[in-house]
C-alpha cells in the first residue's frame, strides 16, 4: 500500500507538469522504475506459462468457452420453441439502447437447421459494408443534406465583384423597402425567376434620413417581379439547387467588361454608388450571407465588423495588386521612413554591388579590360556546363 502510494506520488511528480517544483534525483529514478507498461498482474505469471496459456488455452478460457456454448445452446432451444409456435425469422426484436437509440437484435441461426445454405463463391450480390459512401450515408442517417456554402469557390474580378454586390444590394434594399426581412434574400428560389435584368437597371441612392438607402427600379413591374422572385418563407423540405445559384452569379456578372460606366469603376477605389451605409445589422447579415451563399467567399470578422459602408466591404473583397518583390510591400516601405539606417534592396546584392559601394569596381573592371579578361562570368566554353 505504501509502495503504491509512493509510486503514485513519484509518477505524479514526474508525469504531471508542476511549475518550479524541485524533484530530487532519487525520486525521479524511483518514478522511472515505478512506471509500468504492462499489466501488473501478468508480471506474476511466468513468461512461458503465459505463452502456453495463449496457445493452448488456460483453465479460465476453457471454462469461459464452455459457458458460452451452454448459453448458445439455451438460446437455440428457445429459438426452436419459439419457431415451433411459428414466429419465424421475419420479426426481429427491437430494443432501446443506453442513449435511446433503437436497434434490432440480431437473429440467431442454428447451422444444423439450415440445409439450403450455400457458401458464396464470389462477392456478387453480397452486401457491401464499410466504404466511404456507406459511412456517409449512415452518418446522415438517410437525410439528404446540402451545405449552405457552395462546394466550389467562385473567383471574380474586381468589376464582377462590383456588379454582384450591386445585384445583391438592390435585392436587399428592395426587400427592406417593401417591409420584408432582408434575410429572405437567401431563401431557395425557382429556376425561372432570375432577377438580374431588373436589378441591373436599378439605381441606388444613399439617403441621409433615417430610412437609409433607397433603390429605384426602372418601373414598378420590375420591382414587383423582384419581390415575387424572392420567396417569403423557406420550408425545411425545399432544397437549394446549386445550379440555380451558379447561374445567378453568372447572370449577375455577365458582360462585366462592357458594364455601364457609372456602375463599374476601373481603378482600385470603390465607385461612388457604394457609399451606402450597411450599419443595419440585418442588412449587413443578409449581404454577407448572400455573398457567402453565391460565391463561397468568407470575410474575416474584423473586416466585417469594421465596415460601415458597402465600399468598405468591397475594398476587402477586391483583389489587390500583390507586390512582386518584398521590398515593394508597405511594411518595407515604412522601414525606409522609420529607420533611416536600414537599407532595403529590391535585388539580390552580389559581390559586384559590394565592390561598387566602396568604389573599387571601376578599378577592377578597368584592369580586367586592360588585360583582356572577362569582366563577369568566364569565357571558357565549358564553364556553364556544370560539374559532376
Amino acid at each position: 500500500m505504501r509502495a503504491t502510494r509512493a509510486a503514485h506520488q513519484a509518477l505524479g511528480l514526474a508525469a504531471l507538469p508542476r511549475s518550479q517544483q524541485y524533484v530530487c534525483r532519487a525520486c525521479r529514478a524511483q518514478a522511472g522504475r515505478q512506471f509500468h507498461t504492462s499489466n501488473r498482474d501478468l508480471a506474476e505469471v511466468p513468461f512461458f506459462q503465459r505463452l502456453k496459456h495463449q496457445i493452448f488455452g488456460s483453465k479460465e478460457s476453457q471454462q469461459a468457452e464452455k459457458s458460452r456454448e451452454e448459453k448458445n445452446k439455451q438460446r437455440l432451444e428457445e429459438l426452436h420453441k419459439s419457431s415451433g409456435s411459428g414466429s419465424g425469422l421475419g420479426e426481429l426484436e427491437v430494443k432501446t439502447g443506453r442513449h435511446g437509440q433503437q436497434y434490432e437484435v440480431a437473429a440467431i441461426v442454428d447451422p444444423s437447421d439450415t440445409q439450403d445454405y450455400v457458401p458464396a463463391q464470389g462477392w456478387d450480390g453480397l452486401e457491401r459494408v464499410g466504404s466511404e459512401e456507406w459511412v456517409k450515408a449512415r452518418a446522415d442517417q438517410g437525410e439528404q443534406y446540402v451545405g449552405f456554402v457552395p462546394k466550389k469557390r467562385v473567383e471574380l474580378s474586381n468589376k464582377q465583384w462590383q456588379m454582384l454586390l450591386h445585384h445583391i444590394m438592390v435585392e436587399i434594399l428592395a426587400l427592406q423597402q417593401a417591409g420584408r426581412a432582408p434575410g429572405q434574400v437567401c431563401y431557395p428560389r425557382n429556376a425561372d425567376m432570375y432577377t438580374w435584368r431588373q436589378t441591373r437597371k436599378a439605381a441606388m441612392k444613399s439617403a441621409m434620413n433615417r430610412a437609409g438607402a433607397t433603390v429605384s427600379f426602372s418601373d414598378l413591374a420590375a420591382e414587383q417581379f423582384v419581390l415575387q422572385a424572392i420567396p417569403e418563407s423557406a420550408s425545411t423540405e425545399t432544397v437549394q439547387d446549386q445550379q440555380v445559384l451558379i447561374n445567378e452569379v453568372e447572370f449577375a456578372v455577365a458582360d462585366a467588361d462592357e458594364a455601364l460606366g457609372w456602375k463599374a469603376s476601373s481603378d482600385l477605389s470603390a465607385p461612388s454608388w457604394m457609399d451606402i451605409s450597411i450599419k443595419n445589422p440585418s442588412v449587413k447579415m443578409a449581404l454577407i450571407k448572400r455573398t457567402l451563399q453565391l460565391t463561397g467567399k468568407r470575410l474575416p470578422d474584423p473586416a466585417v465588423s469594421l465596415s460601415t459602408t458597402l465600399a468598405d466591404l468591397y475594398n476587402h473583397l477586391q483583389l489587390k495588386e500583390q507586390p512582386k518583390k518584398l521590398a515593394q510591400t508597405p511594411q518595407m516601405q515604412r522601414i525606409k521612413l522609420s529607420a533611416p539606417n536600414v537599407k532595403v534592396f529590391t535585388n539580390r546584392q552580389t559581390p559586384i554591388h559590394k565592390e561598387k559601394e566602396i568604389g573599387r569596381w571601376k578599378i577592377i573592371e578597368e584592369e580586367l579590360v586592360r588585360r583582356d579578361l572577362p569582366v563577369t562570368g568566364s569565357r571558357w566554353q565549358g564553364a556553364k556546363s556544370g560539374w559532376q
Binding site: 533611416p340 539606417n341 536600414v342 537599407k343 565592390e355 561598387k356 559601394e357 566602396i358 568604389g359 573599387r360 569596381w361 571601376k362 578599378i363
Partner: protein, 460 residues
Amino acid sequence: MKRIRVERWGGQLLPQRIPRTRCPFSTEAVYTPYHPPRYQAYSENDRLRRPTSIARRHATSTTHPPRTPVPSSPPPPASNDAVEDVDIPSQAPETSSTTSPAPPVKSAKLAALHARLSLPSRLPLRTLHRCLIDATANPHPAHNNSSLAILGQDLLGYYTAEYLLCKYPRIPMAVLFAAQYAYIGAKTLNSMRGEWGVEAAAAPGAEVDKGLLQYRRQKAGNAMAEDGTGREKDATETRPTGTGRTNEQWNYRRGISSRIVYDDQFGDLQNGPASNSSSSLVDSETPASSSLAQRQTGESTTLEQASATFIHALAGALYLHCGASATHNFHTIHVISRHLPIHTLFSFKHPTRDLSRLCAREGFEAPVARLISETGRASRHPVFVVGVYSGQEKLGEDAGASLNEGRIRAAAQALRSWYLYSPMDFRVPSEMERQRGKDKGKPKAKDWTPVMIDPGEIIT
C-alpha cells in the same frame, strides 16, 4: 578692436540660400543663384584644371562662379585673392533658373553615423557627406571638405591649446606641442575615425556609398617606383617647400622659438605650395611621384591625413550650423575625454641643473638631494629612494638603481611636478564667448578672472 565674426565669414562655405524674392518695381537685374553642379567622379580632365591653392590657410574663395550673365548683379561677397585661383571645371551642367532643391542624400551609413555621434539635427546629412569628401577625391571647393577643414582645424587647435594652457599654466613649449599632437594630431584623429566606425572607400566616385570617407590613395612606400629600379620610399625625398621659413633651403636647426613663429600648432613644418624663390634651388631630380610632392599638389593623400581633414571639417561644419557651444561640446566629448598621461611627454637632459636654476629664479633655497631610504646596497639590484629638498620642503622624490640615478630621477620628478602644476578650478577664455552667446542682454554670470601666466620654462 572689433571681434572677428568667424560665423559671418564661414557662411560662404555653406551652400547658398535661396535669395529673397525680387521687388516688382526694382530696376536691378535678376540675380540667379548659383546651383553647385552634381558630384562627378574625379576624372583625368579635372586634374588639369583643378585649383592650385587648396591648402592655403587664409580665407577661402566663395562658391559663386564667374559666369553670372548679368553684370549689374550684386557682387559676390568677399572674394579675395583666391578668385583667380579657383577654376571651376567646365563640365558643370547648365542649371535652370528654377530654385529646385538638391535631391536628398540617402545613405544608411551616413544616417547611422549622424545618430551614432549624436550630432545635432541642425547639421544636415548633406554637410556631413561633404565632410567625408577629401580634396583629392573632388577638387571642387564647394563639394569637398577642405574649406570646412581649415575652419575646424583652427577651432580644434584653439580649444585644445587653451585647455592645455589653462590647465597646466607652466607647461613647457615642447611638451605643449607634444600634448597638442597627442590630442588632435593626425594619428589621434585617425584612430578617432576608426573608433567612430567611419570606413574609407577604396576609390572615390559618385557611386560610392555616401557614408564612406572618400580620398585618393597615395602609392604605398613599399611599391615599386615608376622607373622600376627601386621603391617609392627610397626615391629622393623632396625638401619640404613653402614652410614659410626664409632659410628653408639650408639645413638649419629648428629651435622652439622658430617653431613657435613659423611652424604649425604641433611644431611641425607647414606644407605649402612651392614658392618661386625656392624652386630653382631645389634638387632637379626630384621625382614627381614622391609622397610629399603628391600631398602638396593635392593628387593623393594618406588615410591619416584624410581622417584628420574629415574630423576638422566636421568641427567646422558644426560651428557653422550649430554654433560655438556645440563645437566646444564636441571638442570636450571627443578630444579632451581622451586619456593622455602627460607626464610621460617630458624628457630632461640635465634635470639637476634645471632644478637648481629654477630654485634660484624662484628664490627658493638651493636644492639638496637626500637619501630617504635604501635597500639592497650590496646586492645586484639596489633601490635608493632619493628626495630633493629645498630647505625643509621636499620638491620631489624618486627611486633609482644607484645614488646618482636616484638623485637625477628625483630632480626630474621635481621639475615635472613644477611644470604640471594645475589650479583646482580653471576656466578657459572661450567660455566667455559662449556665455555671451547664450544669454544676450542678460548680465554676465561670471566675470573673467585672469588665468595664471608663468614666467616660462627653464632654458639651459
